[in-house]
Amino acid sequence: MQLSQKQKDRFMDVLVYALLAILTLSMLYPFYYVLILSFNKGTDSLLGGVYLWPRTFTFENYARFLDDPHWYRAFLVTIMRTLAGTALGVLFTCLVAYGLSHRDLLFRKSYFTVIIFAMYFSGGLIPYYVVLRSVGLLNTFGVYVIPSILSTFFLLIAISFFREIPSELKESAHMDGAGELVIFYRIMLPVSMPLIATMSLFLGVGQWNSWLDSAYFVQSEGLRTLAFRMMEVINKSNAPMDAIAVANSASAGVTSYSLQVAAMVISIAPIVCVYPFLQRFFIQGIMLGSVKG
């Protein structure tokens, strides 16, 4: 049978839409599934068969999450490191970038060489650990924030962003006798909102999701992050375990598994709420980065 060109195109359309629909579903459903699981009674979830909505609806998993000192504490630590790490990271990276964005800056070439070299080479994990130990950051809250206040990648993006800002803005402020610091935060930062939004999203998501530093550089239980706690549960349950034993030790129908699922939803929720609205910015950001890169 010979298909006409139009029929072929029609067939292509159907195929494209079907493939994309399947793909979208495969990306949405896993998130939806953990969401309904987090609202289902833990002991009931172990029986299986929950697919589209909670079978025995409950808030108990979340209540227990907030009651559990380990989870709750990790939640607070994660919020704090995200706020502090993002704010300081954006500010410091922008400050250094502001200095470097001046085309007539002396030693500009040397500064850039230092930055580019640091971007492509690293001493590796072990020497880095030794350095953190020597500067006294091991096992402190600071280890989450201080080593990441300067991102070389965003430094380069911020420099090219600042260069696009009309210099008349700066010059008129100079005339009025404003110092560089004042110009930086009164003039440059307010007109750089697209840049700040993109940086905040990436640094914030990085901070929020981070667990490696909590595993490497921290021993104190009170400093564990949310992602670290989830990692712990996964590591424990990766080795085959007896789900029934977990169920028996559960109270009010909450199991360690259902607690974990609630933690996952708490960890996903802020990201889902924020990133769709910053899409325009981060698409620009990745394009800028790839052009530079």
């Binding site: 793909l23 400050l95 690293s122 880095y128 999701n209 996964i234 990766n238 394009m287």
Partner: protein, 327 residues
């Protein structure tokens, strides 16, 4: 900007120096800002680079940074030890297989998705699909591992429960623990997580194609597939080459999806260890867990050297073939 006037002689030199000093003083706040950044890099990026020395030494953590320089030289002892390690072959094989699988699958996936998306005329549907496809990129690997557990684990996994219930299998599939599944699962989950994200860059390439080419092809009677093959694909070629080269430069970390370590750490366990142990996880275990710092630093260094060679050679090839390069 060059110094305004060119002067000769010793008086000229001092004058030039004075002028330079004047300029520097004028810029001193800016240099302070940049200087803070340089101090940061010195401490957190450059000091660890000197730390590489410990790979050739018998370093003990109690001696701190000073110990890196004062500890005893042992030459290539740690490197030899690694090459003679009974797990050496297995670890290197796992690292290479996982890295190559990701290039073969995770690299083309966003190209295909970008082409599919470019064929969608309904703007709202396209936007929705794109937005959803970014979502996994922002979620941590820990959560992805948790989701995988919820679907695939042998005792609570939804897929296993459903298949058992339907009588399609008589014992649960051990996807998360069986060594035979690890590579496939790691590659598949990396594609799932990062495919949408890397589509951004390929869609931009497609958007840059002159639309009159499509119109002309249509008039000549080219069908949809023909247009994809002869216009869309050639139009993306430059971007594809650059991204491929970037991928090869970072291949040992898992290419652009860069997740070898996290996957091996989170999905690896005592049972699937024969396929899931890679150089990075091994270095982590012997280094920070067992406290053999020099040995772990040596293993790290081998991987870094290979990566640097790959970065430079792929950069060289990029410069020669496409004219675009990293540095």
């Amino acid at each position: 900007m060059e110094l305004g006037t060119r002067v000769t002689g010793t008086t000229g030199k001092t004058e030039a120096r004075a002028q330079l000093w004047k300029r520097f003083k004028k810029q001193k706040t800016l240099h302070l800002f940049v200087g803070l950044g340089m101090i940061f890099l010195l401490v957190f990026a450059y000091t660890p680079m000197f730390g590489i020395l410990m790979a050739f030494k018998q370093y003990s953590i109690s001696t701190g940074i000073k110990g890196i320089f004062t500890s005893e030289w042992v030459g290539l002892k740690h490197f030899k030890e690694f090459f003679n390690d009974y797990q050496f072959g297995m670890i290197v094989r796992n690292t290479l297989v996982l890295s190559l699988l990701k290039v073969f699958f995770a690299f083309p996936a966003p190209i295909l998705l970008a082409i599919l998306l470019s064929e969608v005329k309904n703007a709202q549907f396209k936007r929705f699909v794109q937005t959803v496809s970014y979502l996994p990129h922002f979620i941590s690997w820990v959560v992805v591992a948790g989701i995988a557990f919820a679907f695939l684990s042998t005792d609570v996994g939804m897929v296993n429960k459903a298949l058992l219930g339907l009588g399609l299998i008589d014992k649960p599939l051990d996807v998360l623990t069986n060594p035979n599944y690890f590579w496939g699962f790691a590659t598949g989950s990396a594609v799932w997580k990062e495919m949408g994200w890397w589509t951004i860059i390929f869609l931009a390439a497609i958007a840059g194609i002159n639309p009159s080419l499509y119109e002309a092809a249509q008039i000549d009677g080219a069908g949809r597939l023909a247009r994809i093959r002869h216009i869309t694909f050639p139009g993306m070629k430059g971007t594809i080459v650059v991204v491929l080269i970037l991928t090869i430069g970072s291949i040992l970390g898992g290419g652009l999806v860069g997740s070898n370590f996290e996957q091996a750490f989170l999905f690896g366990n005592s049972i699937n260890n024969p396929t899931s142990e890679i150089v990075q996880t091994y270095a982590f275990k012997v280094g920070l867990r067992d406290g053999r710092f020099s040995y772990a630093a040596a293993i790290d260094l081998i991987q870094s050297v290979i990566s640097v060679i790959l970065i430079f050679s792929s950069n060289y090839i990029a410069k020669r073939t496409s004219g675009s390069s990293l540095f």
